[in-house]
């Protein structure tokens, strides 16, 4: 899932300065699951905004709403009749949703309530960590299913580096050295021969370095 976290409250209030009628818009998918921007978080943030404004003696009118997704046009369509009523839309989606709102509603002021952090997993309740960097050319078949692009601090393709100590990365003792994990895993699978091969230079043109990416499936277009 896409993992995000709420921006500092002071930053959100600064963004909202001068806006009186605000739509606080949650998203029902990834950010709901990671407790950053679902219906529940919409309620909490809306309550905090109202209290902050009340404390400062400033008027605010908030409408709370959560869409199934903010990254599909059919759900954004639900807002087309009402979005014009608001001075600002505070999106609690990931950056994708914020972008799509801005794409679709040219006259709306769209503001992000979250910082989108990474694509990752819930290790346990309340703990998330990165697993995929969306590099566009997956090599997990060569590394035992563990990604050096997302999980090696240096993004090394032929690790580990000299900074790996007892299975931990030199940037922090709390960070696993993924190349250590890759070695252990391939050893356990009796596939250490995979590491005999020097991985070639990666094609980064399919990553974000190659510019904004797009997929077109003619078979699916209507």
């Amino acid at each position: 899932m896409i993992v995000a976290e709420q921006k500092p409250f002071a930053e959100i209030m600064e963004m909202l300065e001068g806006f009186q009628k605000i739509l606080v818009l949650g998203c029902g998918t990834c950010v709901t699951v990671c407790f950053a921007g679902g219906a529940k978080e919409v309620e909490i943030l809306s309550s905090l905004i109202r209290m902050d404004r009340k404390k400062k003696g400033q008027a605010v009118e908030i409408v709370e709403r959560t869409l199934v997704r903010q990254c599909d046009p059919e759900y954004l369509q639900e807002l087309s009749d009402s979005v014009g009523q608001f001075d600002a839309v505070l999106s609690m989606a990931c950056g994708v949703g914020v972008n799509f709102l801005a794409d679709k509603f040219s006259q709306a002021i769209v503001l992000p309530a979250l910082n989108t952090r990474f694509m990752g997993v819930a290790e346990e309740h309340g703990v998330w960590s990165e697993r995929c960097a969306g590099c566009g050319d997956c090599i997990l078949d060569l590394t035992g299913g563990l990604c050096p692009v997302a999980r090696c601090s240096k993004g090394l393709f032929n690790g580990p580096c000299g900074g790996s100590v007892h299975g931990k990365c030199e940037i922090s003792r709390d960070v696993d050295c993924v190349w250590h994990l890759i070695y252990d895993r391939l050893k356990g699978l009796n596939r250490l021969d995979r590491l005999d091969e020097i991985l070639p230079i990666k094609d980064w043109s399919v990553s974000p370095h190659g510019g904004p990416r797009k997929i077109v499936r003619e078979d699916l277009k209507v």
Partner: protein
């Protein structure tokens, strides 16, 4: 509520938003939750709300978690007095409409 484990952040916020000068959650004794960890979850949520109040510039002491068993009537009264005294010292909530 049957268990403080059901207490959510929004419940406490709603009370404060509606003008409560303080909110305290009275849970069972730690280690004696019928649902194992409900009161420990509530404790964490109360702590979380305290952080939100700091962000708002409101005294976090307006929110508290207490633990007592159903048979500790005396302790219940003592906690109620303690909380009332605390809130009286803090004064009315800055969110009070009046």
């Amino acid at each position: 509520m049957p268990c403080t484990g059901r207490v959510d952040v929004i419940h406490i916020l709603r009370a404060l938003e509606d003008g409560a000068d303080g909110v305290y959650v009275a849970g069972c004794l730690e280690g004696e939750c019928h649902f194992q960890t409900g009161n420990l979850k509530a404790k964490k949520r109360v702590q979380y709300v305290k952080g939100l109040l700091r962000d708002l510039g409101i005294e976090p002491e307006r929110v508290e978690m207490y633990n007592m068993s159903a048979s500790q009537g005396g302790r219940f009264a003592e906690v109620a007095r303690e909380m009332v005294d605390r809130i009286k010292k803090l004064g009315p909530s800055p969110l009070r409409g009046d």
